[in-house]
């Protein structure tokens, strides 16, 4: 991905930056997916989500320019998740105020899911157990059984039944990291017009990537979807749990905005 004119020089490329620091950043950059993988993801997503009923102009636009937009979109997920795993492997003792770790750490969130948090009727998508078959490489991510995204084609309207979300094995995806990000990105794109669908996608994401790379993002999307559906109690409960785990979450603004759309108690029949 190339810098636009309005982007500041990256530290990696700054000649006046310390050589060693530049080398570290270069290595970190090499740990994330290649643009080729991102383009494979673009094709996979295009095949799976090219449904006329779905209005995802940004996604489609990105698919037409995989060299820029989709690389960025994939990179968001990989960055957040990669750094979580990176730190998990490298520095297990430094687990405090890491945005990457907290953005992605299902384990931290899991610890906060106390009985005081009201249970939700749908499976909690974020606070699940760590998967048992973690990839050993330093920037690996949790591998969950690869289910496909084909259900998206069948659930495009808000009449979707959550219980119908398909978890059947499907064609091998480009990679679990790519799939994770694609799934969450699709959920984000669907929140506005298809909150039920978005919620279903977050639930599938939680099943497939229990400690996934973007746990906070996933939970935020779910809260936004629940708020749009008027499921106030669930939205508020999940919001409380998320913010209890991450009081300084970068997603706090989005969560507050979502909750502000909920009807007041007087409006609820």
């Amino acid at each position: 991905m190339r810098d636009a004119d309005d982007n500041p020089p990256r530290l990696f490329e700054a000649e006046d930056a310390p050589h060693e620091l530049r080398a570290w950043l270069a290595q970190a950059r090499n740990d994330v997916t290649s643009s080729a993988e991102a383009q494979q993801l673009a094709l996979a997503v295009q095949a799976r989500f090219a449904t006329p009923e779905l209005r995802w102009p940004r996604l489609r636009s990105g698919l037409q320019r995989p060299g820029k937009v989709l690389v960025g979109l994939v990179a968001i997920g990989l960055g957040l998740g990669g750094w979580y795993v990176l730190h998990e492997d490298g520095r297990p003792d430094m687990a405090n105020d890491s945005a990457m770790r907290t953005v992605s750490s299902g384990r931290a969130l899991q610890e906060t899911q106390s009985p005081s948090v009201p249970p939700t009727p749908t499976p909690a998508p974020v606070f699940n157990a760590r998967p048992t078959d973690e990839e050993p490489t330093p920037l690996s991510v949790a591998r969950a059984p690869h289910s496909h995204l084909a259900h998206a084609r069948h659930n495009e309207r808000d009449t979707v039944d959550h219980s119908s979300v398909s978890l059947h094995p499907g064609p091998a995806p480009t990679s679990s990291r790519d799939d994770e990000f694609a799934l969450l990105r699709a959920a984000r794109q669907a929140v506005g017009d298809h909150p039920n669908h978005a919620l279903a996608l977050t639930e599938e994401h939680a099943r497939r990537f229990p400690i996934g790379m973007l746990a906070q993002e996933r939970e935020t999307i779910a809260i936004e979807a629940l708020a749009r559906l008027g499921r106030a109690a669930q939205a508020q409960a999940r919001s409380r749990a998320l913010l209890a785990a991450h009081p300084d979450s970068p997603y706090k603004g989005r969560i507050d905005a979502a909750l502000s759309r909920l009807p007041s108690p007087q409006q609820v029949p």
Partner: protein, 86 residues
């Protein structure tokens, strides 16, 4: 993103742990917002516009967070280097 570069599995575990730990310590100097902006921009190579979108903040805020993060990382690196020489 360079392709064909040496993946992590080609490093020894020790080498990988060392630079990751060192870089991680630098990033620990940042608050969540700064850290997110720094990693997304410097490592994931998103544009600032994409960083802002990912974090759900205004573009100028993303610029500010990145600049603050970069300054703190450089400062922390200088301290790290000075301590190493001491």
């Amino acid at each position: 993103m360079p392709e064909g570069t040496a993946p992590a599995h080609q490093e020894t575990a020790m080498e990988g742990a060392e630079w990751r730990q060192a870089l991680g310590r630098l990033l620990d100097q940042l608050d969540e917002n700064q850290r997110a902006a720094f990693v997304l921009y410097e490592i994931q190579q998103l544009s600032m516009k994409e960083v802002a979108e990912a974090l759900g903040c205004p573009l100028q805020t993303a610029y500010f967070r990145h600049k603050s993060a970069r300054d703190r990382v450089l400062e922390a690196f200088r301290r790290h280097t000075a301590e190493g020489k001491a």
